[in-house]
Structure formats: structure tokens, C-alpha cells
């Protein structure tokens, strides 16, 4: 009881101090993003008060729009860097990527929280979101049942993976030791979950055979989604690392700065190999489906632009960048790759979906505004955590000096 009272007396003023803003408040980024967030929150209130029709251009023909196509499906692909990197570090033993594990896992956790949270905006009856958990006649053979459970479990797994950083921030040594011992299990659980729900998001479209253009529909969509999530995640790790290296440069130690080039080249190499495999899979699916006659026309050009312009070209850029250790080329490739993944996901969920319908879906400005608000809220959350917890900076002495349970278990 005495220890508890002492801890509360220590933590409460500490937390109140940590709630204060760090750094300048009225920066151009804060003002612009703050305005977008406030407007987005107002639109979200209107959406729940007046219904989807008041804010979106969704309809019976187009029930899934920008919020699902971009926020959920693209956002979760982008969060794939967490499972790829944790696999590389904890399973393959690639310790040189250890410095970027925490920001990547944090990014992945926040992505799932905000983008899966954005899923609530799209539900006609959002109070039914608990049905996959409590039952209530929610179909257990539905792919959505799998996706719902996986999102929940993966968020918990990532929270456990990141929790040692929270314990270090709070100075809770005994809790840190316990949480560190859970890390490896959470990592393995997270990787296992990711392989299925990344492909599960693709499997959501398997039932829409008559609605998706033949160039994008195939029974291999789940495998294509899974493989593309690998290089999508790695590309976002490169982009996020580039931004963090500039914005949070005072937190990164000189030692980690020195390894930055090696890390980026390694990530580029991984992305290039995944894209090589993806291109062959795309070719296989194309030949298997005998889609030659679909190549003419606007949808054919869009398909070729997506595959050649946003997969083949960035793959070649990654190869050239890795071989000549040109970080700028690798960064440019990562941006092109990320755009390509956005294009691919939007093609399947919106553009090539009911592509021949007389009335097409276009997102309203309010949908775009809410999407931007969700992205900026995630960035604000990421910045809040990085400015307070040991994510980019070194952990405290007691966490560094003590026996690193996780690293030892990973080596063993």
C-alpha cells in the first residue's frame, strides 16, 4: 500500500508534466494539421448524427469508398512494415535493424488503431462492431470475422511489443522486466496474425467476382495482397525513417545515424526482392486468366501504369539505389512504391469496382477531409509518443544495462 501511494505520488506530477506540449505550439504544420483535425472531427460528428449520406457519396452500388479503400485497406498494408521488420530482427536475427524496431512497431500500432478505428465511420450500425467478439449471430465463416478478430489481437500484440518503452518512460523497472519477457511471444503471434489478415483483406473481395474488372480480380488476390504488404510496409518504414531522421534528429544517437545508410539499403533490398516476386505473381495471374484482350482501353492502360509504372520502375530504382548506395534513389523508389500500393488498393476497391456502372463513385470533399484528419491525428499521436518515450532515443541506463531478456531469447 505504501509502495503504491509512493508510486502514485511520483507518477501523477510526472504525467501532468508530460501532458504539456514539447516544443513550439504555433508552427505552420501544427496550425494546418490542427485545422484539418478539428474540421474532420466536426464532419465525423455530422456523419454519426445525420448518417453516411450526409457526408459521403457512398451508395448501394458503391458501399465501400475512400474510408475503406484508403484508410483501412491501404493503411493496413502500409502498417505491414511492423511484422516484416520484427520477423527480420527476432526470427532471422538481423540485429542491425533493431534501432528502427520501436518506431516501426509504434507506427504499426497507431496505424491499426486509427485506420481500423476509421472502419467505425463506415459501418451503418457502428454499435454492432462488438458482434464478432460477443457472437450475436455474426457469421463465423465470414472473412470479416477473421479480419475483425485479427485486427483486435494484432493491436494487442503490438501494444505488448511496444509496452517495454512505456514502462521505461514511467520508470517501472519490475513491470519492464515482465513486459520484456513477453516481447518475443507477442512478436511471433503478431507475425502469424499478419500473414493471415493482410491476405484476408484481399479475400474480402473474392465474393465480388462479377463486380471487379477482370484485370484485378482473381482467386489469387489474397496472395497478391500479402506479398504487396511486404514491400508496402518496407517502403513506408523508409519514408517514415527519412522524416523522423530530420524531425527528431536530436533524439537519434550518432551511432544510430552512422548505421542509417546500411539500414535503408537493407530495407530497399528486401522491398526489391518482394517486388520481384510480386511481378512474377502478377504475370502468372495475368497469363492464367488469359487477360490479353483487356489490355486495350482505359482500364488496360491503368493496369499497365500500376504494374509497370508503380511496381517495375520502383523495383529497378531500388536495385540501382541499393547497388550504388544512393539513398536518394531508394527514397524516391519508396515514394513511388507507396503510391503504387495506394493505386492498387484503390483500383480494386473503388476504381475497378463496378467499373462499368453508369453512375460512378467519387469521394466527396468531406470524405477526403476526414481521411486527412485521421492521418494527421495518427501523426500527432506518433509525435506525442516519440517526444516522451524512448522510441528513437536510447532507453534509460537501467534498461540498457540490465539483462536484455528479449535479445537473449531471440538468439537462443
Amino acid at each position: 500500500m505504501e509502495t503504491f501511494t509512493r508510486e502514485v505520488k511520483r507518477l501523477v506530477p510526472f504525467l501532468l508534466e508530460e501532458l504539456k506540449p514539447k516544443g513550439k505550439v504555433l508552427t505552420p504544420f501544427n496550425l494546418i494539421s490542427g485545422f484539418i483535425i478539428v474540421l474532420g472531427l466536426i464532419l465525423i460528428v455530422i456523419r454519426f448524427a445525420k448518417g453516411l449520406g450526409a457526408v459521403t457519396n457512398l451508395s448501394q452500388d458503391f458501399p465501400w469508398g475512400l474510408w475503406i479503400g484508403f484508410d483501412v485497406i491501404t493503411g493496413v498494408a502500409f502498417a505491414g512494415g511492423a511484422y516484416v521488420l520484427t520477423f527480420a530482427v527476432y526470427v532471422l536475427g538481423a540485429e542491425r535493424y533493431h534501432p528502427i524496431i520501436r518506431p516501426t512497431v509504434l507506427n504499426g500500432f497507431l496505424a491499426y488503431v486509427f485506420y481500423a478505428g476509421a472502419l467505425l465511420l463506415d459501418l451503418g450500425r457502428p454499435w454492432n462492431v462488438v458482434n464478432p467478439i460477443i457472437g450475436n449471430e455474426f457469421g463465423v465463416s465470414s472473412v470479416l470475422f477473421l479480419v475483425a478478430w485479427h485486427f483486435l489481437l494484432y493491436m494487442l500484440a503490438e501494444l505488448v511489443e511496444f509496452s517495454p518503452a512505456v514502462a521505461e518512460w514511467l520508470g517501472a523497472r519490475r513491470v519492464w522486466k515482465f513486459l520484456s519477457s513477453l516481447t518475443l511471444g507477442a512478436v511471433i503471434f503478431g507475425i502469424t496474425l499478419s500473414t493471415l489478415h493482410q491476405s484476408g483483406l484481399g479475400a474480402l473481395f473474392l465474393m465480388a467476382k462479377n463486380k471487379i474488372h477482370p484485370l484485378w480480380y482473381s482467386e489469387f488476390i489474397p496472395i497478391l495482397f500479402f506479398v504487396s504488404s511486404i514491400f508496402a510496409g518496407l517502403s513506408i518504414v523508409i519514408i517514415e525513417g527519412t522524416i523522423s531522421d530530420r524531425v527528431f534528429k536530436d533524439q537519434i544517437s550518432p551511432q544510430h545515424h552512422a548505421t542509417y545508410e546500411d539500414i535503408v539499403c537493407g530495407l530497399g533490398k528486401g522491398a526489391a526482392v518482394a517486388m520481384f516476386a510480386y511481378l512474377f505473381l502478377k504475370a502468372l495471374v495475368f497469363v492464367h486468366g488469359k487477360h490479353w484482350e483487356h489490355l486495350s482501353g482505359p482500364m488496360g492502360f491503368l493496369y499497365l501504369a500500376e504494374v509497370l509504372g508503380f511496381v517495375l520502375i520502383p523495383m529497378v530504382m531500388y536495385v540501382e539505389g541499393v547497388r550504388s548506395r544512393e539513398i536518394k534513389t531508394i527514397r524516391a523508389a519508396s515514394i513511388l512504391t507507396a503510391l503504387g500500393v495506394i493505386l492498387n488498393r484503390l483500383n480494386i476497391s473503388i476504381i475497378a469496382y463496378n467499373w462499368d456502372a453508369p453512375v460512378r463513385y467519387y469521394p466527396s470533399w468531406m470524405e477526403i477531409e476526414v481521411t486527412l484528419a485521421v492521418i494527421f491525428m495518427e501523426i500527432w499521436a506518433f509525435r506525442w509518443v516519440v517526444n516522451r518515450m524512448p522510441v528513437l532515443r536510447e532507453p534509460p541506463e537501467w534498461a540498457r544495462g540490465e539483462h536484455d531478456v528479449t535479445a537473449e531469447m531471440a538468439k537462443g
Partner: protein
Amino acid sequence: MEGFTYVDIFATKGIEYLLVIGFLLGVIGFWAHLARKR
């Protein structure tokens, strides 16, 4: 004696087998190319 017929590489999924074999051989060369520094 039976007449000579060409094998339809599409009907026999031959081209898909060739793609997979091409990938398996190609990925080795691709990895080696990546690992070589300029």
C-alpha cells in the same frame, strides 16, 4: 501413324510452368545482382 500436332502452351498451362521456373532461377540471379555493390 498419327499426324504431328503442336502443343498448345496455353491450354497445357505450360507458360505458367515456365514463368514459375523462370522466377525460381531468376530470383537467385536477382539476389546476387542486388548483393553485388557497384
